[in-house]
Structure formats: structure tokens, C-alpha cells
């Protein structure tokens, strides 16, 4: 610490370049590692770079990515949403339950309920000013309870019949990629515009940077925070509904521990949990990175899937250590 205090007086040559490099690493490190991993995987395994395999990674990642998009907004405001795993499962069960009234109802029901769920959480956090961690922890239990009560304590699994519009959307594909992948890409494009190019996005960053300061500058803090949690609920519910459509049923046991995978993906993508910094493109890189790691471990074959958790956990640890180091370097300049 003491050695760095004297440094700023006369900036060493090349410090600007190094700083810019650190900044780039912070924002695009996940993308760089992703490219590297894909290259290594393509060289090492002939079955990795096939269209089928890559399409498979894309579709399995797309649901996690949709949930992670909402989580990115929440985390940039300095909050957290632990309920997404349960809401994801709830969305799936509601979609299958709603099939009795047709495909549109099956899509609208989860969106309405999960959006309302996010609204309640957002109001408790932004208006009653309870800690996000706790409110969404309660939400995790509450949504899972709701799901169980709909499905007769998990005993009934509602089905989405083949041939219905929803099932066809979930299972169909164009150019080797499933429809949900395109929807996810569209949502991310919309998310990127919303975050970078609109007033709302600037408010999200401002709140994460400093809530009191944002309030004093006239940012509608309460409304923005509520909206962010509504978005997270909506996206988690939508992802759950689409996943159910792909599986043709509302599986009740899905989504346990998913919230932590999602948070891991967002953090790997360079979004700081302290809020105020992060990007949608980083999140998509983070999600894909986790997906590629899992796929490569499957390629190795005789390794059990538990290695995937070990590698993901280790990778997450490396990322947060590097991130913390980078942000410290930037702060000390």
C-alpha cells in the first residue's frame, strides 16, 4: 500500500496503457477466455466444433441466459435476486398448467404471475426498504411453495402436448438453432439498448453507483428498482415457460440452486456485485463460458459431471480474485 502512494505523483511511463488493458480485461475477460476455450476445444475434440454440438450448447445456455439478463440489471443496481431459480420452475409449471386454456394463456399466465411476484419483491425492497438478499430469499421459498401447491405437492406433472403452438416454439429450430435461442438473442439486444441507450439504463447505473447520490440528482430510485425486480421475475418466468415447452412438461424439481449459477455467470461476465458497473454482453459471455466448460467436460467422456461443478467453482474463484485485483489497481491509480 505505502509503495503505491508515491506512484501517482509522477505516473510511470506506460501506466495509461496498462490501465486501459486492465479495464479491457475487466469488461471483456470472459469473452477472451471464451474464445480461447472454443479454440482449444475445436482443436482437441473433433466432435466439439460440429453444428449439432454448438447448437446444443446454444439452446441449453439460452434459458440460463434469459434469467441472467434480468439478474444483470438487478446486480447493476446493487441488488440481488435469489428467487430466480424458484420463479423459473414456477414459470414452467404455470405454463404447463395454463395449457388447458391454449398456448397463449400458457405463455401469459407465467408472465403475469412471475411479473407480479417480481413486483411484490420490488415493492418490499424499494418502498419498505428491506434488504434484497432477505426479501428474495423469502421469495425463493414462497415461489417454491406456490409451485408445490399448484402441482399437488409436486405429485402432478402437467404436460404440454406435442404439436401445440407452445411446444412447437420450444422444440423447433431454424438454421440449426432452436427458436428460443433467437428469442434470447433478441432479448439481449433489447436489453443492451435499454441499458446503454435509454434514461432507464442510466438510472440503473446511477443507483448502483450510489443510491443517495442518485436520489439527490432526481433519479426515480424507487420506480427504477421496482421495475428491475419486475423484469427479473418476468424473464425468469419466461425462461421457465420456454424450458417447459422444450421439455413438453412443467417439471417441478427444476431450478434448485439455479440462482447461484446465474449469479456466477453474471459475475464472470464482469458485472460487479457492488453495483454500478457491468454489461449485458459480458453476461452472455459468462453464460456461454459456463456452457462450454460443461460441454468440454462431457467431451472428455469418462469424467463424471461432478467435475463440472469443481471446474465452474474454481473458475469463479479465479475470476473474482482477478476482478478484485483489477478494481483495486484501478482505484489506486
Amino acid at each position: 500500500m505505502t509503495s503505491t502512494v508515491t506512484a501517482p505523483a509522477e505516473a510511470p511511463p506506460g501506466a495509461g496503457g496498462r490501465e486501459r488493458f486492465f479495464g479491457l480485461m475487466q469488461r471483456h475477460g470472459a469473452t477472451a477466455v471464451l474464445v480461447l476455450l472454443v479454440a482449444v476445444g475445436s482443436v482437441s475434440f473433433s466432435s466439439f466444433p460440429t453444428g449439432d454440438n454448438l447448437g446444443n450448447i446454444a439452446i441449453t445456455s439460452s434459458f440460463l441466459a434469459t434469467v441472467a439478463l434480468g439478474m444483470t440489471f438487478v446486480i447493476i443496481t446493487g441488488g440481488i435476486d435469489l428467487s430466480v431459480g424458484s420463479v423459473f420452475a414456477l414459470g414452467g409449471v404455470l405454463a404447463a398448467y395454463g395449457m388447458r386454456w391454449g398456448s397463449f394463456a400458457a405463455l401469459l399466465l407465467p408472465l403475469a404471475v412471475c411479473g407480479a411476484f417480481g413486483l411484490v419483491q420490488g415493492l418490499l425492497i424499494a418502498r419498505v426498504r428491506l434488504a434484497p438478499f432477505i426479501v428474495t430469499l423469502a421469495g425463493l421459498l414462497g415461489a417454491r411453495g406456490l409451485l408445490l401447491s399448484i402441482s399437488n405437492e409436486g405429485a402432478t406433472t402437467y404436460l404440454i402436448p406435442h404439436g401445440s403452438l407452445l411446444a412447437r416454439f420450444g422444440q423447433g429450430s431454424v438454421l440449426g438453432l432452436g427458436y428460443p435461442v433467437y428469442l434470447t438473442l433478441a432479448l439481449f439486444a433489447a436489453g443492451a439498448v435499454l441499458l446503454q441507450r435509454t434514461r432507464f439504463g442510466q438510472c440503473v447505473y446511477a443507483i448502483g453507483g450510489g443510491e443517495d447520490a442518485a436520489q439527490l440528482m432526481g433519479v426515480p430510485v424507487t420506480r427504477t428498482k421496482v421495475l428491475v425486480y419486475v423484469m427479473s421475475g418476468l424473464l425468469a418466468g419466461l425462461a421457465g415457460a420456454l424450458n417447459a415447452a422444450r421439455l413438453s412438461s412443467g417439471v417441478t424439481i427444476l431450478g434448485t440452486g439455479m440462482e447461484l449459477d446465474v449469479i456466477a455467470a453474471v459475475v464472470i461476465g464482469g458485472t460487479l456485485l457492488t453495483g454500478g458497473a457491468g454489461s449485458v454482453s459480458g453476461t452472455i459471455a459468462g453464460v456461454l463460458l459456463l456452457g462450454v466448460i460443461q460441454n468440454l467436460i462431457n467431451q472428455i467422456g469418462d469424467l463424471s459431471s461432478s467435475y463440472q461443478q469443481v471446474v465452474s467453482g474454481g473458475f469463479l474463484a479465479v475470476v473474482v480474485v482477478v476482478q478484485t485485483y483489477l478494481s483495486r489497481v484501478q482505484r489506486l491509480r
Binding site: I80, L124, V128, R129, L130, A131, F133, I134, V135, L137, A138, G139, L140, L141, G142, R144, G145, L146, L147, L148, S149, E153, T256, L260, D261, I263, A264, V267, L273, T274, S304, S306, Y307, Q308, Q309, V310, V311, S312, G313, G314, L316, A317, V320, V321, T324, Y325, R328
Partner: protein, 324 residues
């Protein structure tokens, strides 16, 4: 700040802030008392020795994990890895039971302490936020446990380990005795030792603690190691009771139960205050709610929703006090 509030509240008999503060401090005991009275009145066979023993044996591991969680939350941190630590401990046990029960238990505890060491190093020395640092081992720890165990469920046949889960000392089951013992130890550490005072000081204001010369990093490291050790102990006891080592399911969602117990017991998530007895009561309350609902054929889904409401109520009460 609280001084300024006193003259105002003297005039209003029903002061909201004070009621909430009382609720945060004693609400959990009141709720337990209320539930016991209700149960005695409406639940058949509630006040039997057998039922009490079952409930207490079931809650013992949760209490032990929650004690460690209370210490961590007292420093304004959180430990999400406790469930994975239980899995690590249960995976290590059968591998070393061949050398006898004592080495096996020691290796299990060592595993927990090591996970705590990694968590603590990330938090104390690297400066990673506790929630992210322990998230890494939440993900990786269970995977590690599955790799160690070869992904299999193993039956435990060692009689001395099994007796740890099933035998009693003067009528009290051994897991309950251990939980009570550990509670007393943790309470003594928090209330009577310099370490305990420093720990609470760090939670209250880390920068001030650093400036006043407290060995903040060393204390944080020890706190996370203690949490790992306690979670491993809980994992070993649960293994003994279940008579099997199942790293894929043991301790799932334990982090949530433990955080709930701590928060319901009146320890604020913002650190600086630890209520050990409250934490134990929090764990008992959740167990009692579940047992009550299940006894009356009210379902698991309702139990989960009730638990959610209890958490929110507890935090609302805490907020009322913080806002005074």
C-alpha cells in the same frame, strides 16, 4: 440517536419503533411459546418424550450450522458454502473409517476447516465480497465431495459412528448434547473472549477496527474456519443419523435454513451484533412450524410459504429498530 427518540415516545403508549425492537429481540421466543401452547392444545401426542426427542434430533445439525453462520453474519459476512461443507464431510467419512472413527471424524472436520480457510482467505486477504467468495465453494464444494465419493451413496456400518447418531446420554440424544455443548462454547466465545468482542467490532465497523489496530484479517480467517468446522460437525452428525453418506443430497438448502435461523433470531445482517440463543431459538421455531403443519396434514408447500413470511416479519422488525 435513540436518546432523541425517548422523549417523543413517552407520550405515545403504542410506540411502533419500540414494539418492533422488542419483536426483534424477543419475538422469536414469544413465537415459540405461542406455538407450543397451540400444539399442546390441538396436536395429539405433542407433549410425548418420543416426539420431543425426534424434533430435537432433527434440528441439531441446523442449530450447529446456524451457530457458525451467526458468527459470520456478525462480521457482516455470509457463508453460502455450509451445505457443500456438510457434503464434503460426509464424503470424506467413509474413506477413513477403516482407520477408526476418530481419524475419520478428524479428517471430516479438517475438510470443513480447509474450505473455511479458502473462504476466509478470499474474504480477508483478497478482499472478495463474502457472498461471492463463498458462492465459489458452494458450487465447487459439492462437486468436490461427489468426486471424492465417486458419486455414490455409501452405507455406514461402523457401529461407533452409528451410535453417535442414535444413542443417548441420560435420556438426551447425543446429537442434542453436542448441539447444546457447541452452543455454550460459541456463547462463551462471543460474550467472554477478546476474540468475540473483536469479531463483533469488525461487523460494526471494519474500517474503524482496522484503524484501531485489530488484527481484522486474522479474525475474519478464523471466523470462516469456525463456520466450516461447525458445518462439518453437523455433516458428520447428520451422516451418523441417516446411516449413510450421500454427498449429492446432504445439506442441500442448508445455507438458507441457517441464514433464516440467524435472522429470525434477531442478529442483523448488517453485522455488529450476535444473538447466539436467539439463533438457536430461530432454528427451533422453523422446525416447530414445519412439524406443526405436517402433523396437521398441512402440506410442505404451506410450510415453505409460512417460513417465507416469518423471514420477512423478522427483517421488518429488525428494520424498525435500525431506523430508530
Amino acid at each position: 440517536m435513540s436518546d432523541a427518540a425517548v422523549p417523543l415516545s413517552r407520550f405515545s403508549r403504542f410506540d411502533r419503533g419500540r414494539v418492533l425492537a422488542w419483536l426483534q429481540d424477543y419475538g422469536v421466543y414469544a413465537a415459540i411459546a405461542l406455538l407450543i401452547v397451540i400444539n399442546v392444545a390441538i396436536t395429539p401426542h405433542f407433549l410425548t418424550l418420543e416426539n420431543l426427542r425426534t424434533q430435537l434430533v432433527q434440528v441439531a445439525p441446523v442449530v450447529i450450522v446456524s451457530l457458525g453462520m451467526a458468527l459470520v453474519i456478525g462480521t457482516e459476512g455470509v457463508d453460502l458454502s455450509v451445505g457443500s461443507v456438510m457434503a464434503v464431510a460426509t464424503a470424506l467419512l467413509p474413506l477413513y473409517l477403516g482407520y477408526g472413527i476418530v481419524p475419520a471424524i478428524l479428517v471430516g472436520l479438517l475438510g470443513g476447516a480447509l474450505v473455511g480457510l479458502v473462504n476466509g482467505s478470499l474474504v480477508a486477504f483478497v478482499g472478495v465480497q463474502p457472498i461471492v467468495a463463498t458462492l465459489a465453494l458452494f458450487v465447487g464444494g459439492r462437486g468436490l465431495a461427489l468426486v471424492v465419493a465417486g458419486g455414490q451413496l455409501k452405507d455406514i456400518l461402523n457401529p461407533s459412528l452409528l451410535s453417535l447418531g442414535s444413542s443417548s446420554v441420560v435420556g438426551v440424544p447425543v446429537p442434542v448434547v453436542i448441539a447444546i455443548g457447541l452452543t455454550v462454547v460459541v456463547m462463551a466465545v462471543v460474550r467472554r473472549t477478546t476474540f468475540g468482542r473483536r469479531l463483533v467490532a469488525i461487523g460494526g465497523n471494519r474500517t474503524a477496527s482496522e484503524l484501531s489496530g485489530l488484527p481484522v484479517r486474522r479474525i475474519l480467517l478464523l471466523v470462516y474456519m469456525a463456520s466450516g468446522l461447525l458445518a462439518a460437525a453437523a455433516g458428520i452428525l447428520a451422516t451418523a443419523r441417516l446411516q449413510a453418506s450421500d454427498p449429492s443430497s446432504l445439506g442441500l438448502l442448508m445455507e438458507l435454513s441457517a441464514i433464516t435461523a440467524v435472522v429470525v433470531g434477531g442478529t442483523p445482517l448488517t453485522g455488529g451484533r450476535i444473538r447466539v440463543l436467539g439463533t438457536v431459538a430461530g432454528a427451533l421455531l422453523i422446525q416447530l412450524v414445519r412439524a406443526t403443519l405436517i402433523k396437521h396434514d398441512l402440506t410442505d408447500s404451506l410450510a415453505q410459504m409460512v417460513q417465507a413470511v416469518i423471514i420477512l416479519a423478522a427483517v421488518y422488525a429488525a428494520r424498525g429498530q435500525a431506523g430508530r
